[in-house]
């Protein structure tokens, strides 16, 4: 099944899902509450979001486990439940997946820094990620998606841990900012450096997600394509979040404007396309229409 996901990417653009946390909040996830708790407490609602993304045309959805490493969960006193929550997250997405569709086990950053900027060692990060990766594999993930990484060192810890803890293909997406000299992570890792180090660590696909809107994502994908022959993933934000007078959240890049740049993202070299913060099943549906009208 895994082989066929990468094979599919050779045949046509593979569609991923969009924002998950924002969808759960729309369903009542309380402020400040870690979304992962809903894998056990409100599995029906999490599964509903996954199903809607599949119905919108997604080939692969990401599990509700972005903040599921024990280091991140420790901020909520939930570190002891890391394995349990990640198994549950993968099972939910698996259950929502129609036959022939895929599940990506989401592994986000710990939210902490490695020494010398922070207090943690690479061994501590690696152990936390290995536990999470093993649990996601146990729950039925088809691939592991190390995502939204702003520190190449942390991303490498996660990729190595994922490779060690399971035999699943590992994808990695970095969060880049557009700067005058090119695209860089918060920690100053450029595209070429990330591509070389992550390829060496054994990833099956590389990408960019979050922060950039779909227009700026085009340039990031172009830079990635120039840096690596690996399959590429692109999951752009729907711009930046804005609050209206009633305190309702919306995103600055509307659906039509977002989708307008998707063909350019594909032309720049993206093999897997989905959304990030602010995107909804409607965005994925619109991308599906745009792409498959165009290529078929």
């Amino acid at each position: 099944m895994n082989g066929s996901l990468l094979d599919l990417a050779k045949a046509r653009t593979v569609l991923m899902d969009g924002g998950l946390g924002t969808e759960l909040m729309a369903r009542g996830l309380p402020q400040g509450s870690p979304p992962e708790t809903w894998d056990l407490e409100r599995p029906d609602l999490v599964e509903d979001v996954h199903r809607r993304y599949f119905a919108a045309g997604a080939d692969i959805v990401s599990t509700n486990s972005f903040g599921g490493s024990r280091i991140k969960l420790a901020g909520h006193g939930l570190e002891a439940r890391a394995a349990e929550l990640n198994v549950a997250a993968a099972r939910l997405a698996r259950r929502a997946a129609p036959p022939g569709k895929w599940v990506a086990g989401s592994i986000g950053p710990t939210g902490k820094f490695l020494k010398p900027q922070g207090e943690f060692t690479e061994d501590e990060f690696t152990a936390a990620f290995a536990e999470q990766a093993a649990a996601l594999a146990e729950g039925g993930a088809d691939i592991l998606l190390v995502e939204t990484q702003y520190d190449l060192r942390e991303a490498l810890c996660a990729v190595r841990a994922a490779r060690r803890a399971s035999s699943l293909p590992v994808f990695a997406t970095m969060t880049f900012n557009a700067l005058p000299r090119g695209y860089f992570t918060l920690m100053g890792d450029g595209v070429a450096k990330c591509a070389a180090a992550l390829a060496e660590a054994g990833i099956s696909a590389l990408g960019a997600n979050c922060s950039l809107d779909s227009e700026r994502m085009v340039g990031a994908v172009r830079a990635l394509r120039a840096a690596t022959p690996l399959p590429l993933v692109a999951q752009a934000n729907a711009g930046q979040p804005v609050l209206d007078a009633e305190g309702r959240v919306s995103y600055s890049q509307g659906l039509e404007d977002y989708v307008r740049f998707v063909p350019d993202i594909v032309a720049a070299g993206a093999d897997f396309v989905g959304g990030c913060c602010g995107t909804t099943p409607d965005y994925i549906n619109a991308i599906a229409e745009k792409l498959f009208r165009r290529t078929s």
């Binding site: 402020q31 400040g32 939210g111 900027q117 005058p180 000299r181 992570t185 979040p241 609050l243």
Partner: protein, 225 residues
Amino acid sequence: MNQEELFSGMTQAIIDGDRDRATGLAAEAVQAGLDPVQVIDRGYVPGIDKVGELWEQGDYFLPELIASAEAMKGAMSVLEPALARGRLEAHTAGKVVIGTVEGDIHDIGKNLVAAMLQASGFEVFDLGADVKLERFIDQAEAVGADFICASALLTTTMNNQKKLVGLLRERGIRDKYRVLVGGAPASRKWAEEAGADGYAENAVAAVKLARSLAGPAAGTAGKDA
């Protein structure tokens, strides 16, 4: 080494994020009996200003910023006893109470803003993350703060920035403080909407903003401690 060379060495040590050198040069200056206020203003502050420029140009990133702030902290730890002995105060731009609002455990950006403000001569009281709104206010009242800086990284918690301003109004002390907001979902427009005094996009911009808003309340060198 003459005084000018010493000052430019200090500036360079901050730019390089070289804590050992920054600290060593501060000790030399103290030994030579130099005015610590002048040492800070002419030796170290130009370094942190240059670091800010390099960050804005996209040449420096978070690790460099943190290393420079740490170097600054090292130098200040040597200079502070000398300031106290001389009954001097460094040019302080003001006191800052800072934290991430309740419901939000993200603290990377907030920590960086706190470090840069401190490196730039502000006295910083960092309350951490997931801070109850009342605690911001109680702390600000207790220390006589000039600024309250509230960070929010979630679209669901940014409303607490607005609530903080509301709470200050309810207590009738809104005008005592300059309230600054930051965090990924915040914006200048949001700052206006929330009734805050300003918004900064990153740690370097936050220092500039705080400096520009620092009023006559800011201390002056040589003032009695």
